[in-house]
């Protein structure tokens, strides 16, 4: 693991007991109920789980783009040693799109249709420069943008710069979104299912490109995905989420070698659909209603191993140095695997 930055040895990102609730018409939706995760410098971390389990909410909380109200965010998010949720607004704003950046999922909707690509990218650079007190001329900014457009292997960056989104294919737009994320040389990147809106071949190319860029630049990556193949290929460490909780986490190798949590096992038992299909046929039932979540282990209504103690919330048990599961089956007193 490559270690760099001011917080030598420590994680770039550390999320502690993150709780996010939304006030809705049906009452308070308790979506995230205590998420913990860490991303270390240069590490590529995957976040998996079925649709609606709270992956995007986690990502929005980290990026600081949850609208509140209706969202209520509690807990701690530490980035490069600094606490994000309590820091000043200006300071928080200064991090956005610079030290921490994000690749948006849907190339068809994440670019503004009525502005040229160049103009949108220029704003991303210009406002980041202003916040960081960086003085650059318009042509220096343009040069940087063209450089990054080349980096994401877009042919003819000059033409892309002057194009409107409607003039580019989905794959090209997704590359533009990656370029946007890289413009201000971030140390940490979040990618929310990049390319799932594209056809399989193009998505493959995009993921390969992203993987390469992250490696070359030594970036830390938090990648949200449905696709277990992608997780296996592109990540060093995995968090498995269910209904707003991390249920299992460990190195990718450890988890793929021996998925432990009943939910993870069910997840792995069904072959993921090609285009990031959203249904996991192997698991009976549906996600709980967040306004009335099940007590204790939120998976118990669907779990084949559920028993009385599952009505209490299981802590995270160690299965190895780098493998943990939040399931009573793995309580150390019991000799179970």
């Amino acid at each position: 693991m490559t270690v760099s930055g001011p917080n030598k040895g420590g994680p770039v990102l550390r999320v502690d007991d993150l709780r996010v609730a939304f006030s809705t018409f049906d009452g308070v939706a308790d979506v995230l109920s205590g998420v913990d995760l860490e991303v270390h410098p240069g590490q590529r971390v995957g976040l998996v789980g079925e649709s609606g389990c709270g992956k995007s909410v986690t990502m929005r909380a980290i990026m600081g783009i949850l609208a509140s109200p209706p969202a209520r965010v509690r807990g701690r998010i530490t980035f490069a040693g600094e606490e994000l949720l309590t820091m000043g607004r200006a300071q928080r704003q200064a991090l956005k799109g610079t030290a921490m950046s994000m690749v948006f999922q849907d190339p068809m909707t994440a670019l503004n249709p009525v502005f040229r690509i160049g103009e949108q990218l220029t704003d991303v650079v210009r406002w980041a420069d202003r916040r960081r007190g960086l003085r650059r001329t318009a042509s220096e900014r343009r040069a940087r943008i063209l450089e990054v457009l080349g980096q994401v292997r877009l042919p003819d960056p000059e033409r892309i710069f002057d194009a409107y989104p409607v003039q580019l294919s989905g794959g090209m737009r997704q590359r533009v979104l990656i370029a946007m994320a890289l413009l201000n040389r971030p140390r940490f990147l979040i990618a929310d299912e990049p390319g799932t809106a594209l056809d399989v071949t193009t998505q493959d190319e995009i993921l390969r490109l992203l993987n390469e860029l992250v490696r070359d630049e030594g970036l830390a990556l938090l990648m949200i995905t449905h696709n277990l193949g992608v997780v296996r290929e592109m990540t060093d460490y995995v968090y498995v989420m269910y209904a707003g909780n991390v249920v299992e986490h460990g190195t990718t190798d450890a988890i793929f070698a021996a998925p432990a949590h009943p939910y993870t096992r069910a997840l792995f038992a069904c072959v993921p659909k090609l285009s990031g299909g959203r249904a996991y046929a192997g698991i009976e039932g549906t996600l709980p209603d967040y306004t009335r979540p099940p007590e204790g282990c939120r998976f118990h209504p669907r779990c084949p191993h559920a028993e009385a103690r599952c009505f209490e919330r299981p802590p995270s048990f160690d299965l190895g140095e780098q493998h943990h599961s939040a399931c009573w089956l793995h309580a150390p007193t019991e000799a179970k695997s």
Binding site: A110, L111, V114, D123, W127, Y164, V166
Partner: protein, 341 residues
Amino acid sequence: MEYFFFIVRRLMWSLLVLVGLSIVIFMIARVVPGDPARIALGPLATTEQVANLRHKMGLDRPLYVQYAVYIGGLVRGDFGQSLLTQRSVALDLRTAFPATLELVLATIVIATLLGIPTGVLAARFKDTWVDNIGRVVSLLGVVTPSFFIALLLQLLVGYYLHFLPVNGRLDPSVSFTPDITGLVLVDALIRGQPGVWFDGLRHLLLPAISLAAASLGQIARITRSSMIDVSRKDYVEAARAFGIPDLVTTFKYMLKPSFIPTLTILGLEFASLLGNAFLVEMVFGWPGMAAYGVRAILHKDFNAIMGVVMITGAFFVFVNLLIDVLLGTVDPRIRIRGARS
């Protein structure tokens, strides 16, 4: 390039619409009962005199010939003689149309300049008291007939408070003929007469405000709902995630796409705006197309009726064409593909 053809296609359609309009109105005007020559000459005229006038006016010739003759004149800018004023209709319209145009332009300026910010504010402060006030005011503007607002303003601001004049385009003591563009405010500027300009503005305000209320409300409502719509788009979330300041996000990245539905509505709004303008003109004694048109209809003054309808129709078609061009300017998807997708 496709956009060019798109505009050309629209232009062709516009022409076709105008031709159709001219035929329909021509037929209606000729078919309604009542002999214009008889009406013009009065009940005391002899049958012979009437027949003479009919011949002079070409009314004894077949309908299609009459139409052809009329269109022939129209192409040369000749709308024929008015039976009533005994002047060329083109000349009459040269004073009446700019008066209506000035009123409508002022209305649109007021409606957009106030309507868009109201909509933006309401969207920005959605579900707060700002939004509620904005919504109630907009709705009131939309549902209250403009002639009613006109009467109300006339009574309140004009008669009781004596703030503003309530009749005509200029004070009778002011002798000024807008003979350049026909618009008082423009011509007074060109001629360098600030006093006239100010008097013109004072006369214009009440009718324009009465007329603007409905469009203002409509624009505010559309702007509000499309701003809210746009605020949920991924590209707005992206702008936030990349730390683009809130004001830039709102007024640049949200307002421009929100403007597309507003523009579209504005084109439709225009028909009812012209209709209402006729009523408001009557209330304020505004010497525009309304007074002229109503008089023409009452006297079955063919050429004048045709002239009013054709000018109004052409104006409407032109404005909608303009809006199509503007839409293309705002929305590259239309410009590039000739359609939005």
